[in-house]
Amino acid sequence: MDFLRLVPEDPAPGARALAGLRVGTACLLILQAVSTARDLPAFVGSRGIVQSPVRDVLVHDSVPRLAWLGDLERALGLSETQLVFAALGCYLLSLALMGLGWKARSMALVAWVLNLTLKASGASSAYGAHEFASIALFYCMVLPTDRTFALDVRPGRGEAGLSIALARWLLRGHLAIVYLSSGLAKASGDQWQDGEAVWRVVMRPDVSIADFSWLASASWLAAVMSVSVVGLEIAYAGLVWWRPAHPALLTAITALHLGIALTLNLWFFSGLMILLNWAALADLSRPVQLGFRGRRLLLSPPISTSAVALPFSTSKVIP
């Protein structure tokens, strides 16, 4: 079984996978933060939709929040709104530097703390995307995500094979627990056994991609989809440890999350899940060639003499 092999033959693909997690997380979280920037005071401010005394019961008392900076706010003569946007600005800057790979692990630490602070301050409105954002930033900080695709990669910096292998093994373990617990929780409910769950999801008022009312006439399809989702999530926990299953597993789980994104507009949540899965499972050991207008384009990042590998295998040349 793969989990027993903690020293890979070539750590470079693993380094690329982890770097992809860092860069992708930075890009996603920047987009997420920018998309809600204008409304942020309503979610994290002390006079927002849900005020501090109510929000505070939703989060552990040790997690930092903007209210802790009250003294700093008064000392600097800032309004609360200005403090919120100052924190947001620092968060965006740290994410950008993390993504670019300048002192990536340190910037990940800064982004992680600010993410926790903003999430705790808006605990009443934080959902799965925010939870996985914190998890992804935690892993960007503690795992070797800066070995490649980074501004300050030094030629002499080695790629510690064991640490990268263990990192990917850890990600697989975490994702296995996530999907297994999710699948078992779904399996325990009647809705996921007879298709009602899929029906209730696609009939939500915020689903605008299409009218899915026809599904009531094809309830067998809803049942098949429901059982398939549950089956995939439970099977994930076992298949994640069997390397030959990784391409199919990665394809299936990516398709699942893309479907969630398209149907429910949960783009950031789905994006983070896809990133975590690719960091854990993608085999980036094979080079790719893309053909266009008679030319072959071999993509190669400035890391080593090896070609960059993407999980596509097309090599068609267009005459």
């Binding site: 401010g45 939709i49 009443s124």
Partner: protein, 175 residues
């Protein structure tokens, strides 16, 4: 020597992730070790649960604010233009499914309304839930609809000071 330590740390982390997924607390927070473990779980995300739409898909909720001001009732529906902000708002309204939070949440919304409408004296926080009929009932003619789940009345305290402008202005009220 470093390798076994890293492996041990990873195993401990995954164990805590497992406890979080199961909704269990590994060590009572009454002890110092338990307190440290809970802080680690809160910071690292290892304490999270992963019951997405499980065991069932919860009904969607929305909040309507009815504000009595200047002798007439105004109706305010909080909304945001962006998809992500709308998701955050949905998450907030979804908290009304937790009975122990309903009164406090409603009070928060009411406080926001009192702040937005300076001369308001009464605010009714109406929570609506979107009921989706099962597929067989849908085929028999039943249709999804919003229904009122609960209404929370609030009045402005006589000794309260002047209303403060909320950080994010509520959308325009309609009478």
């Amino acid at each position: 020597m470093k390798r076994p330590l890293w492996i041990a740390a990873a195993l401990v982390h995954l164990t805590l992730v497992g406890f979080g997924a199961a909704g269990k607390v590994p060590i009572s927070e009454q002890t110092l070790l338990g307190r440290m473990v809970e802080i680690y779980r809160a910071y690292s995300g290892a304490g999270n649960g992963y019951g997405f739409f499980a065991p069932g898909v919860a009904a969607e909720r929305r909040v309507l604010l009815h504000v009595f001001s200047g002798g007439r009732w105004l109706e305010i529906a909080e909304s945001f233009d962006g998809t992500e902000s709308s998701h955050r708002l949905l998450t907030t309204t979804g908290l009304f499914a937790q009975e122990q939070l309903r009164q406090s949440l409603a009070a928060s919304w009411a406080a926001r309304a009192f702040g937005a409408v300076a001369d308001s004296s009464v605010v009714l926080v109406e929570v609506e839930v979107y009921l989706i009929p099962p597929m067989d009932e849908f085929l028999r003619g039943e249709r999804p609809r919003w229904i009122t789940e609960s209404v929370f009345p609030f009045t402005r305290a006589a000794e309260s000071g002047p209303a403060q402008e909320p950080d994010h202005g509520l959308p325009p009220a309609r009478s």
